[in-house]
């Protein structure tokens, strides 16, 4: 049955109400029902030259999958997506669609673009509920490939290579696979059962996962290089601090530590779970990206009054719009055009001294440069401070491989085939680009896997 919809009807989002969601870590966005998904898919114009696909870093055939959704062929829709993207339930939730596919969608000019992310998520969730269909594996090639790091890049590379018939060993230093998907992005944006299900799908292809193995220490570089090929997907996990006076007081966290304690170690359930965290009755978060937004929203759920301090203007916030809106709904106070300069306190934190910033001529990033306003210092009361000002590539392993060429920011330099300066060694994801996105990490890993295949077949 076709569902007829009057032109211009746009399906609303189903965010759980704020009162409820502040008391748990369950997903905020409830997703679409089957009928809603069909109605939304109906709106698609099925463009001959679809702009949305141009906006997609892994060029999913968006009109094709949307068409299948409109006709109720959800499994077929999933198959179309999976040709390009192995982890759709994750991407449907965390990709910045507003600057990718949805940002390009022609309907965005007049009304609202198609909710491509919501549809992708719906299709993936429906498929998972009915039992995932595993892709075919090619015959074993007898060659061994090592993949380092089980974040989105490593998982994607491992899955692609396993499908091509390689014996893949995936090394992960933590006690759980998933990388930032597990320890960084909170469950209310990305439920951990979903991450686990997608990881299980990768492992069921025959990938051997070795947890608790820090490559460079538990596995030597020499042992690593004994594989026929190596993919480095070690991410950008090195947290930057701001160098402020008072930064080492108890109660000062990097966003990585704060988020890891809660997402990976479940400190929100302390003392039932053993890992503690300073809950903080007044929390200040410095930064304006997804990481800052996540840290602020986690702190809010731990019961604190939370203030987010960002040095530029609200319109410059690099976080996804949707997440900024939700953070505001959840009662997080935004202080824009301000920068922390000092953490006050003796045994613990008592407040954060900030300075107002004014916007001057555009800097290298093309945005107006924030400059401190003299004599404009003010103090925000606080007992917990979280620095969410960025992360750099993990130096540990890559600095132990002397022949690996690295850029100024410590990133591994790769060519368009994701080859590094060392034969047999490939790299992709945040370790090559610096902190970026899940989909870019996956796209890079997929191309790298194909380059590895080509290299090994030519040998």
């Amino acid at each position: 049955m076709r569902i007829s919809v009057p032109a211009g009807v746009v399906i609303p989002m189903h965010d759980r109400n704020v009162e409820q969601r502040l008391h748990d870590f369950k997903e905020v966005d409830g997703g679409l029902t089957a009928d809603e998904a069909k109605i939304e898919a109906e709106r698609c114009l099925q463009c001959k030259k679809p702009l949305c696909v141009k906006g997609c870093p892994v060029t999913i055939d968006i009109p094709a999958f949307v068409r299948e959704v409109a006709s109720g062929n959800f499994r077929k829709a999933a198959a179309v997506i999976k040709e390009q993207n192995m982890l759709p339930a994750i991407c449907g939730r965390v990709c910045p669609q507003e600057v990718q596919c949805e940002g390009q969608c022609i309907l965005g000019l007049k009304e609202k673009p198609i909710s491509i992310g919501e549809l992708e998520r719906f299709v993936a969730d429906t498929e998972r509920a009915q039992g995932l269909v595993l892709p075919q594996r090619k015959a074993a090639t007898g060659r061994r490939v090592a993949v380092v790091g089980a974040g989105p890049a490593g998982l994607t590379a491992a899955a692609e290579l396993a499908r091509m018939g390689y014996a893949v060993t995936l090394f992960e230093s933590l006690h759980a696979a998933g990388g930032v998907l597990m320890y960084g992005i909170p469950a209310f944006r990305l439920p951990k059962e979903i991450v686990k299900a997608e990881i299980d799908a990768v492992l069921s292809l025959g990938v051997e996962l070795k947890l608790n193995h820090l490559v460079g220490r538990s596995v030597t570089v020499k042992e690593l290089l004994s594989y026929d090929a190596v993919f480095l997907g070690t991410g950008a996990g090195l947290p930057y601090f701001m160098g402020l006076p008072g930064e080492n007081l108890p109660g000062v966290y990097s966003a990585n530590e704060f988020l890891t304690r809660v997402n990976l170690m479940h400190a929100d359930a302390f003392p039932v779970s053993d890992t503690p965290i300073k809950r903080g009755s007044r929390v200040v978060v410095a930064g304006g990206g997804n990481v800052a937004m996540d840290a602020a929203r986690v702190a809010r759920r731990l019961g604190g009054k939370v203030t987010l301090v960002y040095r530029r203007r609200e319109e410059d916030l690099p976080a996804r719009e949707e997440e900024t809106r939700r953070a505001k709904e959840e009662g997080i106070e935004f202080v824009m055009c301000a920068n922390p300069v000092k953490i006050l306190g003796d045994q613990g934190i008592t407040g954060i001294e900030c300075v107002r910033m004014k916007m001057c001529a555009a800097d290298q990033s093309g945005r107006p440069e924030p400059v401190p306003v003299e004599g404009s210092h003010f103090t925000i009361d606080a007992d917990v401070f979280i620095a969410a000002i960025g992360q750099g590539p993990n130096p540990l392993l890559i600095s132990e491989i002397p022949d690996l060429r690295r850029g100024k920011r410590g990133n591994v330099i790769v060519d368009d085939q994701f080859r590094t300066s060392m034969r047999k060694v490939f790299a992709g994801g945040d370790v090559a680009t610096g902190a970026a996105t899940v989909i870019l990490a996956m796209g890079a890993a997929k191309s790298a896997a194909h380059a590895i295949d080509t290299m090994l077949r030519e040998e």
Binding site: L174, H175, N212, H213, R217, S218, P250, Y253, S273, Q347
Partner: protein
């Protein structure tokens, strides 16, 4: 899961445990550590690798809070969920000449493996082991074998020299040339003892024990200040030049979770009592 091969008590509140984990045992070097997570709800806690044999390694720990108390209750045949490692940089055990290794309390656990490594590079090694009383001394036999000479001090004089390990270190420095020193123990003991070697400018290493989470350089919980710079103890250490360490900062940060640690241990002990009570009625 990693199986516990052997578990026994060494002294009051001090236990040793051999755990089978080939990825750790085959790569471990002096000065490195592991991170244990006992079970799904467990905290990740760092413990120094104090010996290696085949596929297994040994840790020696003191029960001070929830996790170490829980660990001490495990027996051979039990297992721990996760063992990550070896982590941290190995000790710099090249040829110095004469080295003195000073251990305070459970810090002594780190010394035999460093002593053996220093001996292997041709050093003369003198061990100094300090404890509050004779009952708390550990590894006396092993250290006697690993070192050219072993000196013992107890705070109450129940064994060896009556006084502190720092005093014995002064005596050794007065009698012979010392080229490098390791001091491993509680933060306060390291802070005080390294003042003995500072005036003479003797190369001195301490092993720092800040609170850690991942142990891979990803969170910054373990940051310490050495020579005015922020370093991550889990990847840049745990051993650092003693004379450049900001011990006050380290000790301040170690107090971060004191109220939570107390709550956690009390809850665990209450739970254990309740279980034992239940048993006796059965």
């Amino acid at each position: 899961m990693y199986s516990i091969e052997k578990a026994e008590q060494l002294a009051d509140k001090v236990y040793q445990m051999w755990v089978k984990a080939p990825h750790v045992a085959h790569h471990a070097q002096a000065g490195q550590f592991v991170i244990f997570r006992i079970d799904e709800k467990g905290e990740r806690i760092p413990l120094t690798i104090s010996a290696v044999d085949g596929d297994s390694f040994r840790v020696i720990f003191m029960t001070i809070g929830k996790t170490t108390t829980h660990l001490a209750a495990l027996r051979a045949g039990d297992s721990v969920q996760d063992v990550a490692g070896p982590l941290g940089k190995p000790s710099e055990t090249h040829r110095f000449g004469t080295c003195v290794l000073v251990g305070g309390g459970v810090g002594t656990a780190s010394l035999p493996i460093i002593a053996r490594s220093l001996k292997a590079s041709g050093n003369r090694v003198i061990g100094i082991v300090g404890a509050r009383n004779a009952g708390l001394l550990i590894l006396e036999d092993e250290m006697t074998k690993a070192c050219d000479e072993l000196l013992i001090s107890t705070d109450d004089g129940t064994k060896g020299f009556h006084g502190f390990a720092a005093d014995l270190l002064k005596q050794v420095m007065a009698r012979e040339q010392v080229d490098a020193v390791w001091i491993i123990g509680p933060a306060m003991m390291m802070k005080v003892t390294c003042e003995v070697t500072r005036p003479a400018g003797i190369k001195t290493f301490v092993s720092l024990n800040p609170v850690m989470v991942d142990g891979t350089g990803m969170c910054g919980s373990c940051r310490v200040i050495v020579g005015g710079e922020t370093r991550f103890a889990c990847v840049d250490g745990p051993e650092f030049d003693a004379h450049r360490v900001d011990f006050n900062m380290l000790m301040g940060r170690l107090r971060t979770y004191q109220p939570e640690e107390k709550e956690s241990l009390e809850r665990y002990n209450a739970h254990i009592c309740a279980c034992r009570g239940g048993d006796s009625h059965a």
